[in-house]
Symmetry: C2
Subunit: 226 residues, 2 copies
DNA sequence: TTATTTTTGTGATAAACATCACGTTTTGTG
DNA sequence: CACAAAACGTGATGTTTATCACAAAAATAA
Protein backbone atom coordinates (compact mmCIF):
# COMPACT_ATOMS: atom_id res chain seq x y z
CA UNK A 1 0.00 0.00 0.00
CA UNK A 2 1.75 3.07 -1.32
CA UNK A 3 1.72 6.33 0.62
CA UNK A 4 0.10 8.96 -1.56
CA UNK A 5 0.47 12.62 -2.09
CA UNK A 6 -2.52 13.73 -4.09
CA UNK A 7 -1.28 17.33 -4.22
CA UNK A 8 1.55 16.28 -6.47
CA UNK A 9 -0.59 14.06 -8.64
CA UNK A 10 -0.60 15.09 -12.26
CA UNK A 11 -3.60 12.93 -13.08
CA UNK A 12 -6.14 14.89 -11.06
CA UNK A 13 -9.76 14.79 -12.17
CA UNK A 14 -11.67 17.98 -13.00
CA UNK A 15 -13.32 17.68 -9.61
CA UNK A 16 -10.09 17.10 -7.69
CA UNK A 17 -8.51 20.17 -9.30
CA UNK A 18 -10.94 22.29 -7.31
CA UNK A 19 -9.70 20.98 -3.97
CA UNK A 20 -7.45 23.21 -1.87
CA UNK A 21 -4.28 22.17 -0.06
CA UNK A 22 -6.03 21.11 3.12
CA UNK A 23 -8.63 19.11 1.26
CA UNK A 24 -5.98 17.42 -0.86
CA UNK A 25 -4.24 16.42 2.33
CA UNK A 26 -7.42 14.80 3.63
CA UNK A 27 -7.72 13.00 0.32
CA UNK A 28 -4.10 11.79 0.41
CA UNK A 29 -4.56 10.35 3.86
CA UNK A 30 -7.64 8.36 2.87
CA UNK A 31 -6.76 7.13 -0.52
CA UNK A 32 -4.74 4.19 -1.75
CA UNK A 33 -3.34 3.44 -5.13
CA UNK A 34 -3.75 -0.10 -6.45
CA UNK A 35 -2.58 -1.85 -9.59
CA UNK A 36 -4.72 -4.40 -11.38
CA UNK A 37 -3.86 -6.92 -14.05
CA UNK A 38 -6.26 -7.91 -16.80
CA UNK A 39 -9.29 -9.79 -15.43
CA UNK A 40 -8.74 -8.69 -11.85
CA UNK A 41 -11.81 -7.45 -10.02
CA UNK A 42 -11.96 -3.89 -8.68
CA UNK A 43 -15.28 -4.35 -6.96
CA UNK A 44 -18.01 -6.93 -6.97
CA UNK A 45 -21.77 -6.84 -7.38
CA UNK A 46 -23.84 -7.39 -4.20
CA UNK A 47 -20.93 -6.54 -1.93
CA UNK A 48 -21.06 -3.56 0.44
CA UNK A 49 -19.63 -0.59 -1.38
CA UNK A 50 -17.06 1.39 0.53
CA UNK A 51 -14.93 3.20 -2.02
CA UNK A 52 -15.21 5.60 -4.87
CA UNK A 53 -12.63 4.68 -7.46
CA UNK A 54 -10.69 6.97 -9.71
CA UNK A 55 -8.99 5.31 -12.68
CA UNK A 56 -5.55 6.78 -13.30
CA UNK A 57 -4.75 4.54 -16.23
CA UNK A 58 -6.13 1.49 -17.97
CA UNK A 59 -9.62 0.27 -18.74
CA UNK A 60 -12.39 -1.61 -16.98
CA UNK A 61 -15.71 -3.19 -17.83
CA UNK A 62 -18.78 -2.74 -15.66
CA UNK A 63 -20.73 -5.99 -15.52
CA UNK A 64 -24.15 -6.63 -14.15
CA UNK A 65 -25.61 -10.05 -13.53
CA UNK A 66 -29.13 -9.59 -14.87
CA UNK A 67 -32.18 -11.72 -14.16
CA UNK A 68 -31.54 -13.89 -17.21
CA UNK A 69 -28.00 -13.22 -18.33
CA UNK A 70 -24.79 -11.37 -17.71
CA UNK A 71 -24.43 -7.98 -19.33
CA UNK A 72 -21.63 -5.50 -19.82
CA UNK A 73 -23.05 -2.11 -18.94
CA UNK A 74 -20.18 -0.14 -20.39
CA UNK A 75 -16.46 0.09 -20.77
CA UNK A 76 -14.68 2.87 -18.92
CA UNK A 77 -11.31 4.26 -19.86
CA UNK A 78 -9.03 6.26 -17.58
CA UNK A 79 -9.08 8.99 -16.48
CA UNK A 80 -12.50 8.73 -14.88
CA UNK A 81 -14.42 7.83 -11.76
CA UNK A 82 -16.13 4.49 -11.56
CA UNK A 83 -18.66 3.22 -9.10
CA UNK A 84 -19.97 6.62 -8.17
CA UNK A 85 -23.65 5.75 -8.60
CA UNK A 86 -23.24 2.32 -7.09
CA UNK A 87 -21.45 3.77 -4.05
CA UNK A 88 -23.52 6.88 -3.45
CA UNK A 89 -26.85 5.51 -4.66
CA UNK A 90 -27.06 2.42 -2.48
CA UNK A 91 -25.10 0.58 0.17
CA UNK A 92 -24.54 -2.40 -2.05
CA UNK A 93 -22.82 -2.52 -5.42
CA UNK A 94 -25.32 -3.03 -8.21
CA UNK A 95 -22.60 -4.14 -10.60
CA UNK A 96 -19.00 -5.34 -10.74
CA UNK A 97 -15.92 -3.71 -12.23
CA UNK A 98 -13.21 -5.82 -13.86
CA UNK A 99 -9.98 -4.66 -15.47
CA UNK A 100 -9.69 -5.42 -19.17
CA UNK A 101 -6.08 -4.31 -19.26
CA UNK A 102 -3.43 -3.33 -16.75
CA UNK A 103 -5.07 -0.62 -14.69
CA UNK A 104 -4.02 1.72 -11.91
CA UNK A 105 -6.72 3.06 -9.63
CA UNK A 106 -7.15 5.26 -6.56
CA UNK A 107 -9.51 3.90 -3.95
CA UNK A 108 -11.07 6.75 -2.03
CA UNK A 109 -12.78 5.92 1.21
CA UNK A 110 -16.48 6.74 0.86
CA UNK A 111 -16.75 8.76 4.08
CA UNK A 112 -13.78 10.85 2.98
CA UNK A 113 -15.35 11.35 -0.39
CA UNK A 114 -18.60 12.44 1.22
CA UNK A 115 -16.68 14.77 3.52
CA UNK A 116 -15.03 16.41 0.52
CA UNK A 117 -18.42 16.83 -1.13
CA UNK A 118 -19.66 18.67 1.97
CA UNK A 119 -16.50 20.74 2.30
CA UNK A 120 -16.14 21.95 -1.24
CA UNK A 121 -19.11 22.87 -3.41
CA UNK A 122 -16.92 23.25 -6.49
CA UNK A 123 -15.87 19.64 -6.05
CA UNK A 124 -19.55 18.64 -5.73
CA UNK A 125 -20.43 20.68 -8.75
CA UNK A 126 -17.96 18.86 -10.99
CA UNK A 127 -19.25 15.54 -9.74
CA UNK A 128 -22.81 16.61 -10.51
CA UNK A 129 -21.89 17.59 -14.05
CA UNK A 130 -20.12 14.27 -14.54
CA UNK A 131 -23.13 12.34 -13.23
CA UNK A 132 -25.50 14.22 -15.49
CA UNK A 133 -23.39 13.61 -18.57
CA UNK A 134 -23.13 9.98 -17.68
CA UNK A 135 -26.90 9.66 -17.35
CA UNK A 136 -27.43 11.21 -20.77
CA UNK A 137 -24.88 8.83 -22.30
CA UNK A 138 -26.64 5.97 -20.61
CA UNK A 139 -29.96 6.96 -22.17
CA UNK A 140 -28.41 6.94 -25.60
CA UNK A 141 -26.62 3.65 -25.07
CA UNK A 142 -29.86 2.11 -23.92
CA UNK A 143 -31.83 3.40 -26.89
CA UNK A 144 -29.14 2.27 -29.25
CA UNK A 145 -29.38 -1.24 -27.87
CA UNK A 146 -33.16 -1.25 -27.88
CA UNK A 147 -33.94 0.27 -31.24
CA UNK A 148 -31.27 -1.14 -33.48
CA UNK A 149 -30.82 -4.68 -34.57
CA UNK A 150 -27.70 -6.67 -33.93
CA UNK A 151 -25.77 -5.52 -37.01
CA UNK A 152 -26.25 -1.87 -36.10
CA UNK A 153 -25.32 -2.47 -32.48
CA UNK A 154 -22.20 -4.36 -33.45
CA UNK A 155 -21.12 -1.65 -35.88
CA UNK A 156 -21.80 0.95 -33.21
CA UNK A 157 -19.43 -0.77 -30.81
CA UNK A 158 -16.71 -1.28 -33.40
CA UNK A 159 -16.82 2.44 -34.18
CA UNK A 160 -16.83 3.29 -30.48
CA UNK A 161 -13.67 1.22 -30.06
CA UNK A 162 -11.87 2.93 -32.94
CA UNK A 163 -12.95 6.46 -32.24
CA UNK A 164 -13.32 6.71 -28.49
CA UNK A 165 -11.53 3.90 -26.77
CA UNK A 166 -8.40 3.35 -28.83
CA UNK A 167 -8.42 6.25 -31.27
CA UNK A 168 -6.88 3.94 -33.84
CA UNK A 169 -8.11 2.09 -36.91
CA UNK A 170 -6.50 -1.12 -35.79
CA UNK A 171 -6.76 -2.61 -32.34
CA UNK A 172 -7.11 -5.77 -30.31
CA UNK A 173 -10.60 -6.48 -29.07
CA UNK A 174 -10.46 -6.28 -25.27
CA UNK A 175 -13.16 -8.93 -25.02
CA UNK A 176 -13.63 -12.45 -26.27
CA UNK A 177 -16.62 -13.31 -28.45
CA UNK A 178 -18.75 -14.25 -25.46
CA UNK A 179 -18.08 -11.01 -23.63
CA UNK A 180 -18.50 -9.03 -26.81
CA UNK A 181 -21.93 -10.63 -27.10
CA UNK A 182 -22.68 -9.52 -23.52
CA UNK A 183 -21.81 -5.98 -24.52
CA UNK A 184 -23.79 -5.95 -27.76
CA UNK A 185 -26.61 -7.84 -26.09
CA UNK A 186 -26.77 -10.79 -28.42
CA UNK A 187 -25.42 -14.34 -28.68
CA UNK A 188 -21.83 -15.42 -29.24
CA UNK A 189 -22.87 -17.13 -32.45
CA UNK A 190 -24.40 -13.99 -33.90
CA UNK A 191 -21.26 -12.02 -33.12
CA UNK A 192 -19.15 -14.65 -34.87
CA UNK A 193 -21.35 -14.76 -37.92
CA UNK A 194 -21.58 -11.01 -38.29
CA UNK A 195 -17.90 -10.37 -37.78
CA UNK A 196 -17.24 -12.96 -40.50
CA UNK A 197 -19.72 -11.25 -42.77
CA UNK A 198 -18.18 -7.81 -42.24
CA UNK A 199 -14.82 -9.37 -43.01
CA UNK A 200 -16.12 -10.99 -46.21
CA UNK A 201 -17.54 -7.67 -47.37
CA UNK A 202 -14.13 -6.12 -46.71
CA UNK A 203 -15.55 -3.62 -44.24
CA UNK A 204 -13.25 -4.86 -41.51
CA UNK A 205 -10.35 -7.25 -41.43
CA UNK A 206 -10.36 -9.69 -38.58
CA UNK A 207 -7.72 -12.05 -37.28
CA UNK A 208 -8.60 -13.50 -33.92
CA UNK A 209 -8.88 -10.54 -31.59
CA UNK A 210 -7.12 -8.17 -33.99
CA UNK A 211 -9.52 -5.86 -35.78
CA UNK A 212 -8.76 -3.43 -38.56
CA UNK A 213 -11.36 -1.04 -39.89
CA UNK A 214 -11.14 -0.99 -43.70
CA UNK A 215 -14.27 0.94 -44.63
CA UNK A 216 -15.34 3.22 -41.83
CA UNK A 217 -17.94 5.03 -43.94
CA UNK A 218 -19.74 1.79 -44.68
CA UNK A 219 -19.52 0.75 -41.04
CA UNK A 220 -21.08 4.03 -39.98
CA UNK A 221 -23.88 3.52 -42.48
CA UNK A 222 -24.57 0.13 -40.94
CA UNK A 223 -24.54 1.67 -37.48
CA UNK A 224 -26.94 4.43 -38.48
CA UNK A 225 -29.38 2.33 -40.47
CA UNK A 226 -30.04 -0.16 -37.74
CA UNK B 1 -46.92 34.17 -13.29
CA UNK B 2 -47.44 33.73 -9.60
CA UNK B 3 -45.12 35.35 -7.08
CA UNK B 4 -43.57 32.61 -4.98
CA UNK B 5 -42.41 32.20 -1.45
CA UNK B 6 -40.41 29.02 -1.33
CA UNK B 7 -39.79 29.37 2.41
CA UNK B 8 -43.44 28.71 3.07
CA UNK B 9 -43.68 25.85 0.61
CA UNK B 10 -44.71 22.60 2.22
CA UNK B 11 -43.69 20.56 -0.81
CA UNK B 12 -39.96 21.14 -0.49
CA UNK B 13 -37.62 18.49 -1.89
CA UNK B 14 -35.02 16.78 0.31
CA UNK B 15 -32.44 19.06 -1.28
CA UNK B 16 -34.44 22.26 -0.80
CA UNK B 17 -34.94 21.46 2.88
CA UNK B 18 -31.23 22.06 3.38
CA UNK B 19 -31.41 25.64 2.10
CA UNK B 20 -31.26 28.48 4.62
CA UNK B 21 -33.47 31.56 4.67
CA UNK B 22 -31.26 33.61 2.40
CA UNK B 23 -30.90 30.82 -0.11
CA UNK B 24 -34.63 30.21 -0.11
CA UNK B 25 -35.13 33.87 -0.86
CA UNK B 26 -32.84 33.60 -3.89
CA UNK B 27 -34.80 30.57 -4.98
CA UNK B 28 -38.16 32.34 -4.56
CA UNK B 29 -37.02 35.22 -6.70
CA UNK B 30 -35.92 33.00 -9.55
CA UNK B 31 -38.58 30.41 -9.64
CA UNK B 32 -42.03 30.33 -11.18
CA UNK B 33 -44.89 27.99 -10.64
CA UNK B 34 -46.72 26.72 -13.73
CA UNK B 35 -49.76 24.51 -14.20
CA UNK B 36 -50.00 22.02 -17.03
CA UNK B 37 -52.94 20.10 -18.41
CA UNK B 38 -52.66 16.59 -19.75
CA UNK B 39 -50.56 16.46 -22.94
CA UNK B 40 -49.00 19.88 -22.43
CA UNK B 41 -45.26 20.06 -22.95
CA UNK B 42 -42.96 21.08 -20.08
CA UNK B 43 -39.83 21.11 -22.21
CA UNK B 44 -38.88 19.91 -25.62
CA UNK B 45 -36.05 17.82 -27.04
CA UNK B 46 -33.36 19.72 -29.00
CA UNK B 47 -34.29 23.05 -27.44
CA UNK B 48 -31.84 25.01 -25.31
CA UNK B 49 -32.37 23.98 -21.72
CA UNK B 50 -32.69 26.79 -19.23
CA UNK B 51 -34.59 25.46 -16.26
CA UNK B 52 -34.47 22.74 -13.71
CA UNK B 53 -38.00 21.64 -12.96
CA UNK B 54 -39.43 20.46 -9.70
CA UNK B 55 -42.76 18.64 -9.91
CA UNK B 56 -45.06 19.63 -7.07
CA UNK B 57 -47.93 17.46 -8.17
CA UNK B 58 -48.97 15.36 -11.14
CA UNK B 59 -47.11 13.11 -13.51
CA UNK B 60 -45.05 13.45 -16.68
CA UNK B 61 -43.52 11.21 -19.30
CA UNK B 62 -39.99 11.72 -20.59
CA UNK B 63 -39.89 11.04 -24.32
CA UNK B 64 -36.91 10.72 -26.56
CA UNK B 65 -37.07 10.68 -30.34
CA UNK B 66 -34.67 7.89 -31.15
CA UNK B 67 -32.94 7.18 -34.45
CA UNK B 68 -35.71 4.82 -35.55
CA UNK B 69 -38.65 5.41 -33.26
CA UNK B 70 -40.08 7.38 -30.39
CA UNK B 71 -39.48 6.02 -26.92
CA UNK B 72 -40.75 6.79 -23.46
CA UNK B 73 -37.72 6.83 -21.19
CA UNK B 74 -39.69 6.80 -17.98
CA UNK B 75 -42.66 8.17 -16.15
CA UNK B 76 -42.02 10.55 -13.28
CA UNK B 77 -44.41 11.24 -10.46
CA UNK B 78 -44.36 14.25 -8.16
CA UNK B 79 -42.61 15.14 -5.96
CA UNK B 80 -39.36 14.99 -7.92
CA UNK B 81 -36.96 16.92 -10.09
CA UNK B 82 -37.06 16.39 -13.81
CA UNK B 83 -34.63 17.46 -16.46
CA UNK B 84 -31.65 17.59 -14.16
CA UNK B 85 -29.33 15.56 -16.39
CA UNK B 86 -30.60 17.17 -19.55
CA UNK B 87 -30.08 20.65 -18.09
CA UNK B 88 -26.76 20.16 -16.30
CA UNK B 89 -25.28 17.60 -18.68
CA UNK B 90 -25.63 19.54 -21.92
CA UNK B 91 -26.90 22.83 -23.25
CA UNK B 92 -29.63 21.18 -25.26
CA UNK B 93 -32.43 18.97 -24.01
CA UNK B 94 -31.87 15.36 -24.96
CA UNK B 95 -35.52 14.50 -24.37
CA UNK B 96 -38.95 16.07 -23.93
CA UNK B 97 -41.24 16.12 -20.92
CA UNK B 98 -45.01 15.96 -21.36
CA UNK B 99 -47.70 15.98 -18.67
CA UNK B 100 -49.82 12.85 -18.54
CA UNK B 101 -52.19 14.39 -16.03
CA UNK B 102 -52.78 17.82 -14.54
CA UNK B 103 -49.39 18.80 -13.19
CA UNK B 104 -47.98 21.70 -11.19
CA UNK B 105 -44.29 22.47 -11.55
CA UNK B 106 -41.67 24.94 -10.33
CA UNK B 107 -39.34 26.21 -13.02
CA UNK B 108 -36.02 27.12 -11.49
CA UNK B 109 -33.69 29.23 -13.55
CA UNK B 110 -30.56 27.21 -14.30
CA UNK B 111 -28.09 29.91 -13.22
CA UNK B 112 -29.91 30.23 -9.92
CA UNK B 113 -29.87 26.48 -9.50
CA UNK B 114 -26.14 26.41 -10.17
CA UNK B 115 -25.63 29.27 -7.73
CA UNK B 116 -27.43 27.31 -5.02
CA UNK B 117 -25.26 24.28 -5.75
CA UNK B 118 -22.16 26.43 -5.22
CA UNK B 119 -23.56 28.11 -2.12
CA UNK B 120 -24.77 25.10 -0.24
CA UNK B 121 -22.92 21.77 -0.25
CA UNK B 122 -25.76 20.04 1.58
CA UNK B 123 -28.04 20.99 -1.28
CA UNK B 124 -25.49 19.63 -3.76
CA UNK B 125 -25.11 16.49 -1.74
CA UNK B 126 -28.81 15.67 -1.91
CA UNK B 127 -28.80 16.28 -5.64
CA UNK B 128 -25.84 13.94 -6.04
CA UNK B 129 -27.58 11.19 -4.12
CA UNK B 130 -30.69 11.64 -6.24
CA UNK B 131 -28.66 11.49 -9.46
CA UNK B 132 -26.88 8.34 -8.33
CA UNK B 133 -30.11 6.59 -7.43
CA UNK B 134 -31.61 7.58 -10.71
CA UNK B 135 -28.66 6.17 -12.64
CA UNK B 136 -28.96 2.85 -10.83
CA UNK B 137 -32.67 2.72 -11.60
CA UNK B 138 -31.90 3.50 -15.20
CA UNK B 139 -29.50 0.56 -15.42
CA UNK B 140 -32.16 -1.78 -14.14
CA UNK B 141 -34.85 -0.40 -16.41
CA UNK B 142 -32.52 -0.82 -19.36
CA UNK B 143 -31.63 -4.40 -18.49
CA UNK B 144 -35.24 -5.23 -17.93
CA UNK B 145 -36.08 -4.02 -21.41
CA UNK B 146 -33.11 -5.74 -23.00
CA UNK B 147 -33.22 -9.13 -21.35
CA UNK B 148 -36.90 -9.88 -21.08
CA UNK B 149 -39.32 -10.56 -23.83
CA UNK B 150 -42.40 -8.51 -24.40
CA UNK B 151 -44.67 -10.38 -21.99
CA UNK B 152 -42.24 -9.88 -19.13
CA UNK B 153 -41.75 -6.23 -19.93
CA UNK B 154 -45.48 -5.62 -20.14
CA UNK B 155 -46.07 -7.36 -16.81
CA UNK B 156 -43.25 -5.35 -15.28
CA UNK B 157 -44.90 -2.09 -16.27
CA UNK B 158 -48.35 -3.15 -15.11
CA UNK B 159 -46.88 -3.98 -11.71
CA UNK B 160 -44.97 -0.72 -11.65
CA UNK B 161 -48.22 1.14 -12.25
CA UNK B 162 -50.05 -0.65 -9.44
CA UNK B 163 -47.31 -0.61 -6.87
CA UNK B 164 -45.34 2.56 -7.50
CA UNK B 165 -47.30 4.98 -9.59
CA UNK B 166 -50.89 4.59 -8.40
CA UNK B 167 -50.55 2.33 -5.37
CA UNK B 168 -53.89 0.82 -6.30
CA UNK B 169 -55.05 -2.43 -7.89
CA UNK B 170 -57.32 -0.61 -10.28
CA UNK B 171 -56.36 2.38 -12.36
CA UNK B 172 -56.66 4.12 -15.70
CA UNK B 173 -53.72 3.65 -18.01
CA UNK B 174 -52.18 7.08 -18.49
CA UNK B 175 -51.16 6.13 -22.01
CA UNK B 176 -52.91 4.89 -25.10
CA UNK B 177 -51.85 1.61 -26.71
CA UNK B 178 -49.36 3.32 -28.98
CA UNK B 179 -47.65 5.18 -26.17
CA UNK B 180 -47.74 2.11 -23.98
CA UNK B 181 -45.88 0.32 -26.77
CA UNK B 182 -43.30 3.13 -26.76
CA UNK B 183 -42.79 2.55 -23.06
CA UNK B 184 -42.58 -1.24 -23.26
CA UNK B 185 -40.51 -0.97 -26.42
CA UNK B 186 -42.71 -3.06 -28.67
CA UNK B 187 -45.48 -2.56 -31.23
CA UNK B 188 -49.03 -1.40 -30.60
CA UNK B 189 -50.32 -4.68 -31.94
CA UNK B 190 -48.29 -6.77 -29.53
CA UNK B 191 -49.56 -4.69 -26.61
CA UNK B 192 -53.14 -5.21 -27.75
CA UNK B 193 -52.72 -8.93 -28.19
CA UNK B 194 -50.97 -9.45 -24.88
CA UNK B 195 -53.40 -7.35 -22.88
CA UNK B 196 -56.21 -9.40 -24.41
CA UNK B 197 -54.44 -12.60 -23.49
CA UNK B 198 -53.86 -11.50 -19.88
CA UNK B 199 -57.54 -10.62 -19.74
CA UNK B 200 -58.57 -14.02 -21.11
CA UNK B 201 -56.43 -15.77 -18.53
CA UNK B 202 -58.15 -13.66 -15.85
CA UNK B 203 -54.85 -12.20 -14.69
CA UNK B 204 -56.09 -8.69 -15.34
CA UNK B 205 -59.44 -7.22 -16.28
CA UNK B 206 -59.35 -4.62 -18.99
CA UNK B 207 -61.97 -2.20 -20.24
CA UNK B 208 -60.53 0.43 -22.53
CA UNK B 209 -57.97 2.28 -20.44
CA UNK B 210 -59.29 0.89 -17.16
CA UNK B 211 -57.09 -1.84 -15.75
CA UNK B 212 -57.74 -4.06 -12.75
CA UNK B 213 -55.17 -6.48 -11.46
CA UNK B 214 -56.88 -9.77 -10.62
CA UNK B 215 -53.93 -12.07 -10.04
CA UNK B 216 -50.89 -10.13 -8.97
CA UNK B 217 -48.90 -13.24 -8.04
CA UNK B 218 -49.27 -14.63 -11.54
CA UNK B 219 -48.39 -11.27 -13.06
CA UNK B 220 -45.21 -11.14 -10.99
CA UNK B 221 -44.31 -14.62 -12.15
CA UNK B 222 -44.66 -13.49 -15.74
CA UNK B 223 -42.54 -10.43 -15.00
CA UNK B 224 -39.81 -12.49 -13.36
CA UNK B 225 -39.68 -15.32 -15.87
CA UNK B 226 -39.17 -13.16 -18.88
C1' DT C 1 -77.66 13.26 -35.24
C1' DT C 2 -74.24 11.85 -39.04
C1' DA C 3 -69.76 11.97 -40.84
C1' DT C 4 -64.90 11.60 -40.11
C1' DT C 5 -60.90 10.69 -37.77
C1' DT C 6 -58.44 8.19 -34.36
C1' DT C 7 -57.78 4.29 -31.66
C1' DT C 8 -57.97 -0.50 -31.04
C1' DG C 9 -58.23 -5.75 -31.90
C1' DT C 10 -56.88 -9.69 -34.49
C1' DG C 11 -55.41 -12.80 -38.21
C1' DA C 12 -51.71 -13.92 -41.63
C1' DT C 13 -47.00 -13.49 -43.03
C1' DA C 14 -42.16 -12.78 -42.79
C1' DA C 15 -37.78 -11.50 -40.78
C1' DA C 16 -34.40 -11.42 -37.25
C1' DC C 17 -32.14 -13.92 -34.20
C1' DA C 18 -31.55 -17.41 -30.38
C1' DT C 19 -30.63 -21.96 -29.72
C1' DC C 20 -28.83 -26.44 -30.70
C1' DA C 21 -25.38 -29.26 -32.62
C1' DC C 22 -20.97 -30.26 -33.96
C1' DG C 23 -16.48 -29.64 -35.85
C1' DT C 24 -12.22 -26.76 -35.76
C1' DT C 25 -8.89 -23.81 -33.79
C1' DT C 26 -6.50 -21.78 -30.11
C1' DT C 27 -4.77 -21.62 -25.53
C1' DG C 28 -2.96 -23.36 -21.50
C1' DT C 29 -0.73 -26.97 -18.68
C1' DG C 30 1.75 -30.94 -16.96
C1' DC D 1 5.60 -32.02 -26.81
C1' DA D 2 0.94 -33.97 -26.04
C1' DC D 3 -3.29 -33.54 -24.11
C1' DA D 4 -7.28 -31.16 -22.16
C1' DA D 5 -9.99 -27.27 -21.94
C1' DA D 6 -11.60 -23.16 -23.67
C1' DA D 7 -12.82 -20.28 -27.46
C1' DC D 8 -14.57 -19.96 -31.93
C1' DG D 9 -17.11 -20.72 -36.64
C1' DT D 10 -20.98 -22.26 -39.08
C1' DG D 11 -25.10 -24.87 -40.60
C1' DA D 12 -29.98 -26.18 -39.45
C1' DT D 13 -34.11 -25.22 -36.95
C1' DG D 14 -37.61 -22.96 -34.24
C1' DT D 15 -39.47 -19.03 -31.71
C1' DT D 16 -40.52 -14.41 -30.94
C1' DT D 17 -42.28 -10.52 -32.53
C1' DA D 18 -42.64 -6.84 -36.11
C1' DT D 19 -45.22 -5.70 -39.97
C1' DC D 20 -49.09 -5.66 -43.03
C1' DA D 21 -53.91 -5.72 -43.72
C1' DC D 22 -58.36 -4.81 -42.46
C1' DA D 23 -62.43 -4.52 -39.57
C1' DA D 24 -64.62 -2.82 -35.38
C1' DA D 25 -65.07 0.53 -31.88
C1' DA D 26 -64.53 4.93 -29.85
C1' DA D 27 -63.77 9.72 -29.96
C1' DT D 28 -64.32 14.04 -32.23
C1' DA D 29 -66.21 17.30 -35.34
C1' DA D 30 -69.75 19.12 -38.30
Amino acid sequence: MKKLNCSMCILKSEATKSLNTGELKILSQNCVEVDFKKDEVLFKQNVLSSNVIYLQSGMVKLIIEGPQRKQILKLKKAPCYIGLPTTMGDKINHYSAVAIQATRACFIDITTFKKLLRLNPDFSYEIIVELCKSELEQFHRCINLLQKQVFGRLANNLIYFTEELYEMDEYDLPLNRNEFADLVCTSRESISRMLSELDEEKIIKIEGKRIKILNKEMLKKIRDNG
